[in-house]
């Protein structure tokens, strides 16, 4: 083991194996749980992605930043704008798909993060926290500055790419737009609930549609039209699900249906429906080849979020456990000593900022897809504070801590919600209880167990082994 670790190449292989195994296990889990839990899984993966960046920034580099929520907004907006406006733009000979949008989201995060990081490298402690606090509070102001481009206060509804082909605007995120920041968790719940309902509709529709295939063959086109308009009232994913099933079971019938819809659509709803059908070839294969023949949006979102989280985790593992991780820690613990051995303290701080911005932007792009919406309310100070809470509770300087923090951020509101349902608490209490707990827990952890959950466990293990007391790292 020791000889294995001494070669960086081998360490990378080990990390790849670990991440690969976790990825596979998570996909297996995702495909075998209720879609509702899949939507939680998607959120956990999204938070974890953002918090790997917080581990590096806050934990290893020692910079308290509240800007990561804003950087998530950057990623989300870039994703939304590129995926909506460049759907038909060929990209270096390839057709545009969601992965390009993700790449651009990441680049946007790196750009903005680099600018803030350049400022941040000159700042210490409270100054940086205050400046980034201003950025977080300023997000709505900035989006309102460009109402045409960014949709102002209402944000943008996302066209969500589907692996089955095409983009479709979801209706589910509609309510989120009006919510103020500060309780992102609540926003997510309503959204998850809404998509859950869609799923039920999709299942109902399937049965109707199967009955309808026969009349179609008899050229009963008009009644089919009526059926389809009803579908339009629901969401476009219903249509796509049906496409999936039909192509797998009887290809001919599915093909006929597709043509019929094309005939019908221009007369009725060219704008909305056209996107769903004409865009079939745009998204290509999407992120992941469907493990499941039935297309379930929560599962797809979760597998997409897991894919991003695993790729980011792999990068983070290599950075944190490699030379760069030691550089960050050295500058955090003693900038002068680090400078003496030839490390540039400001360079180290900027690099931590840029890496965490990249991760935050990718997480933001994932979050925007999960919500199928991007707006200032869900990406304000509340989100930045939740990231800070998660990383502190899980363990500031540990990637595992980031994952535990992400779990806590998703699980605790659910726990409180369940308890409140049992005990019949008023809404005012239920909505605020998670944040009250977070605030008190953060203070308690900082005072009593600065290493968070992972740090505390590590210190217990070390104690059991008879070694020294725990440190932050």
């Amino acid at each position: 083991m020791k000889t294995l670790r001494s070669f960086p190449g081998n360490r990378i292989i080990w990390h790849a194996i670990i991440v690969g195994v976790v990825w596979l296990l998570l996909l297996l889990l995702n495909n075998n749980i209720d879609p509702l839990y899949s939507s939680y899984l998607a959120l956990v993966a999204m938070y974890a992605t953002a918090m790997f960046g917080m581990t590096i920034l806050v934990g290893l580099s020692g910079q308290v930043s509240l800007g990561n929520g804003a950087l998530m907004a950057v990623g989300g907006y870039v994703f939304a704008l590129t995926s909506m406006n460049w759907q038909t733009v060929p990209f270096f000979g390839w057709e545009w798909n969601a992965i390009w949008s993700m790449v651009f989201a990441g680049l946007g995060g790196v750009l903005i993060g680099g600018i803030i990081g350049g400022l941040a490298a000159r700042l210490k402690g409270p100054y940086l926290a205050g400046l980034t606090l201003g950025v977080a509070v300023g997000v709505p102001a900035i989006t309102n500055r460009f109402p045409e481009l960014l949709g102002g206060e209402n944000g943008l509804m996302l066209t969500v790419p589907y692996p089955a082909g095409g983009y479709a605007a979801l209706d589910a995120g509609g309510e989120v737009a009006t919510d103020e920041g500060g309780d992102a968790a609540v926003d997510i719940e309503t959204d998850a609930g809404a998509t859950g309902e869609d799923q039920q509709y999709a299942e109902l529709d399937l049965s109707e549609f199967d009955q309808g295939t026969d009349p179609l063959a008899e050229e009963d086109l008009l009644t089919e039209d009526d059926l389809l308009t009803e579908d339009d009232l629901l969401t476009e994913d219903d249509l796509l699900t049906e496409d999936d099933l039909l192509t797998e079971e009887d290809f001919g019938a599915g093909g006929d249906l597709g043509i019929d819809e094309n005939v019908v659509d221009p007369t009725e709803d060219p704008g909305v429906d056209g996107a769903g059908l004409d865009g079939t070839d745009i998204a290509g294969g999407g992120f992941i080849d469907g493990f499941d023949s039935e297309f379930i949006i929560e599962r797809w979102q979760a597998s997409m979020a897991i894919a991003v989280a695993c790729i980011v985790a792999f990068a983070a593992l290599n950075l944190v456990r490699g030379r760069q991780g030691r550089v960050w820690k050295a500058v955090r613990d003693d900038p002068v000593a680090a400078a003496v051995v030839g490390i540039s303290p400001s360079g180290s701080k900027v690099s931590a900022f840029v890496v965490s911005s990249l991760f935050a932007a990718l997480a933001g792009a994932v979050f925007a897809q999960i919500l199928s919406f991007i707006g200032p309310g869900a990406f304000g100070l509340g989100l930045s504070l939740s990231l800070l809470v998660g990383i502190v509770l899980g363990g500031r300087a540990s990637l595992l801590g980031a994952i535990i923090g992400a779990l806590l951020l998703v699980w605790l509101p659910e726990l409180v919600d369940g308890l409140s349902g049992e005990r019949g608490w008023p809404e005012q209490i239920t909505n605020n209880a998670p944040n009250l707990l977070y605030g008190l827990l953060v203070v308690a952890v900082v005072l009593l167990a600065p290493g968070g959950i992972t740090g505390t466990f590590k210190s217990w293990i070390d104690k059991a082994k008879g070694r020294g007391r725990a440190t932050l790292s």
């Binding site: 210490k124 400046l131 800070l388 809470v389 203070v443």
Partner: protein, 292 residues
């Protein structure tokens, strides 16, 4: 030109409140060398207390006094429960802890008083004063805000320059070791600093509440403005906090007047970034107040 004068005049009372919040941040910085990001959260909480008092008794003065007392107590409570235990550990932890307090206070206020914005009645008329044939952008209430702020600033100045307590506090802030050797009870001075800061912030909260509405998150933006003013003023200068607090208020009023009030946070952010880049010690700051 008339517009310019009007916008400028309209910014004074807002600036006075920002100055009070900045003062609170500076008072805490002077006593414990940390920025209390929960300061405005504490003010929000005590303003809700004042609102409750005003709604039940109808007295604005009583509400203000109770809010000050509550701010004093809350400052001491936060200091004892959070700041003193964390002070000697890492500085990152101290910053995070104050954010923890902020989150808890906002959630607590939401629990007790609900999340909907609530109005706060003004004790005096809040419409523009008519004088010399035109309506000026300053109301009787704005005058009251300025008077209360001025009284508080003068009181604090007298406290720090003319009393033994003020001298001890300055000594404890300037050099705790030497102060302790000279018989100053440094720890008690730190508590006093936090308590006075809490009361000052509470006054600011009660003064701004009728103009903006009050909700658990409505003071977030005030935190940014106050932090900006405090940092530009040098973080340990009382006069700097007051000057740039009012200055920030005027700038915001001008920005809101000529463009849109939504741009105010962006302007504050630009001011803060420029200041941190060009004059990181602040205009009134002593060299070395901020080490890199």
């Amino acid at each position: 030109m008339t517009n310019f004068v009007d916008y400028l005049l309209g910014g004074f009372s807002n600036g006075a409140v920002i100055a009070l919040m900045a003062l609170a941040i500076v008072l805490v910085w002077r006593s414990t060398r940390m920025v209390n990001f929960a300061q405005v959260g504490q003010a929000m909480f005590t303003t809700y207390v004042a609102l409750t008092i005003q709604q039940s008794t109808g007295s604005w003065i009583l509400a203000l006094v109770v809010a000050m007392a509550a701010g004093l107590v809350l400052g001491i409570v936060v200091f004892f429960l959070v700041i003193r235990p964390v002070k000697n550990s890492d500085s990152t932890g101290a910053i995070i802890a104050t954010f923890g307090v902020l989150i808890a206070l906002q959630a607590g206020a939401g629990m007790i008083w609900g999340g909907d914005p609530q109005g706060f009645l003004t004790p005096v008329d809040n419409s523009g004063i008519e004088f010399a044939g035109r309506i000026w952008p300053i109301s009787l209430y704005d005058v009251l805000v300025l008077v209360v702020t001025a009284a508080l600033v003068i009181g604090l100045t007298l406290l720090f320059t003319k009393t033994n307590l003020g001298l001890s506090m300055r000594a404890a802030a300037f050099n705790p070791e030497v102060a302790r050797l000279s018989g100053v009870r440094v720890n008690r001075m730190l508590i006093t600093g936090w308590a006075i800061a809490g009361a000052t912030g509470a006054v600011g909260g009660v003064l701004i509440a009728p103009v903006s509405t009050i909700s658990p998150n409505s003071f977030d933006i005030l935190l940014v403005f106050a932090f900006t003013a405090a940092v530009i003023g040098g973080l340990d200068s009382l006069i700097g906090a007051v000057t740039f607090g009012i200055g920030t208020g005027l700038v915001i009023s001008l920005v809101s007047g000529y463009s849109d009030s939504g741009n105010a946070p962006i302007v504050a952010l630009i001011l803060l970034a420029l200041n941190l880049l060009l004059k990181p010690d602040g205009v009134f700051g002593h060299h070395g107040a901020r080490s890199v």
